[in-house]
Amino acid sequence: MKIIRYIQRSVSRKLMLVVLATTFLALSAYGSVMLIYDLRTYHDSWVKDLTTQANIIAEVSAPALEFDDPQTARENLNLLSTRRSILQAAIYTASGDVFAGYSATEERSQPLLPPGDEIGYVIHGDRIAVIHPVIKNGSAIGSVYIQARYEARARLTNYALILICVMAASMSLALLISIWLQAALTRPLFAVTNVAREVMQRRDFSLRAEKFSEDEIGILVDAFNDMLSEVEKRARALEDSNRSLEHEMTERQAAERALLQADRRKDEFLATLAHELRNPLAPLLNSLRILRLAGDNAEQMHEAQDIMERQLRQMVRLVDDLLDVSRITTGKLTISTSRIFVHEVMRAAVETCSAFIEKCGHKLEVIFPDETLCVEGDSVRLSQVFANLLNNSAKYTNSGGQIRFVARQVGSDVVVEISDNGIGIAADMLPEIFQMFTQVDSSLERTHAGLGVGLALSKRLIELHGGTLVAESGGIGKGSLFRVTLQTAECPDTNGAAADTEPGTSASRRILLVDDNVDFVSSMASLLTLLGHQVRTVNDGVSALGAAAEFAPDYAFLDIGMPGLNGYDLARRLREHPATARCVLTAVTGWGQDKDRELSRAAGFDYHLVKPVELARILEVLEAGPRK
């Protein structure tokens, strides 16, 4: 059983077994058949030979028997001495008596066959005996007996010996052949087996089995290698997909985190917004009560009006910021570009902020560029950015601080820096401060209002101008620095532009204001009248038609959402009417999206202002001159 298991474990052993077994069986079968054939041949020829000998002796000895001459008979028998294997011979008379005898040795033994008339033979052990009658004239006159060695056993032994030698030689040869076969057949198989094992152990599908031949094993090797390539391809595809899945997962997790953070920021922003919008209402109400109660106390009324203006401005600024945030998030924030002077923008920003900075007790140092520098951009937005940054510095610097506002040319760029010696920014917060709704000081007892959108808005605006806004700080308590870099542009002719704008401001215009918000219309009408313009106000679209026809205004500011006749239809009617066909029409609406602007342009409007409309915006329209 052990041997069977040993052989079953290996192809080469099986091959060896096949070759050896085949050789052994073939040789055994051949040897056996040859042995039987040889023994038969030996037997037949020996019997025939001895019978022939006996016949000759019988023929020759017939006269000796007939004429009773034993001497001649003996001489005849003695001729057999040439045959070594013939041991004994005798001639018998017809009556069975020995007529003549012969013995190769001194040995004399009992004859194996009785004298007789028939030809016969007998084999006994290693002896063979034949009897042959002596016939004369048709009758037996005696018989010849020959006994010889029958060497079948010796022959068998010799034969077996030869067979064993041949078998040993053949088996050795077969062994050599099987070893050669093993090399030719099992080496490629072993190669495949080894590669398969290595692939399983190392998980390396780039391994390939070596091909030794073009036979079936070669085909097997090819198929195996093809299979490996297929497996390798699939494994790689699986790995790739796993990796991309992993990557996707990471991205999703990051996005989820960002979403959560944005959500949290939005919540914070909403809380801040409510707080910031609520804050000005109390002083406003108080001032309003003062106005009612003060009567003719001019000083108290003036003080109350100042409070109301300050608080309202604060609210307007908040809502403006809010609108800008909405534009940023919807991607609708746009700028109008023109050549503007850097120092003018800076001056405008300083004008906006100087009151607040003074109030905080800071010292502002402004350094304008050495020469006149211009940039391509929106002067309102750029001054908004600078004002934002100045406000920011003022807010985050303890009272009595130092603020520097510096512009200079570096190469082809204009670098504007706003720096302070305030509370500074922690290094880990630096990248965060430009995020929407981020406030460095989120503690409840913070002293300064804000929605946390100023820096994000500023950065976005500067980027829209093709510039950069970066923040630097030495750390907490080390102050901070904001640097705006913008591309310089060629400056326009300053003298012509100044002359052109001059007469526009002084001219008196006929202005029609149409809005269902009576407070807004009447307050704006008072302001414009104070500025020297003729103003007519109407509170609905239908009556506006009649007023316009009669008044024939140069400028008309129309609300869009009105009962009866809306702003778009009113504009179309006015354009159709000869008295107002050349009138400058401005839409005043709460909707500031592109599609709203598109709608108003289609209706015949020249300008589109978004509520709340400040006096400055209306003055800008008036300064732009009549319709071309």
Binding site: V60, P63, A64, F67, D68, D69, T72, N137
Partner: protein, 196 residues
Amino acid sequence: MGAVIRTTHPRSRWLQWLTWLPLLACFSFAVVAQGVSDINLERQIKAAMLYKFLGYVEWPAEAFATPASPYVIAVAGASDVAAELRHLTQDRTINERPIVVQKVTSKSDLSRIHLLFIGDEYNDTLHNRLIRRAREHSMVTVTEIDRGLNIGSVINFRIIDDRIGFDISLANANAHKVKLSARLLGVASYVETGGP
């Protein structure tokens, strides 16, 4: 081969003696008989030999009239031999020929004879005459005298060491135009080739 071992039972010893008795009687009778018939035996053997000689001799074709013609053995004198031959050859053939035995004298016709035996009771003169006459025919002459071959006989019987042997003269055989088988010469005591 193996020796035969006879076991003898002690109780049957006297029985063995009883069985030996008739054997002894037979033996003594045989000895007496041999002594009486010694002469007869010699004549019988010679008769048998004469008969057997026919098988070893070749005659010319004209010696026989037909393929079935008999061998003719003539006996001169020696009537006991002739009687024995007649007895011996009765109903026997050699080479599918029957055998005829006839008595002849010195004056008989010898023309149809194949084998002539002259008994030793014939004197020299008779011998010479018969042989001289026989020389004209194709036949084998057989004598039983010492100088048989010299007087022209083909075969001559002799007693050698109590055995009956014979001498052959090839020259005489040639003279008689008969051929003797070499096998016959092989068992002859002496063969006279007739050469120098």
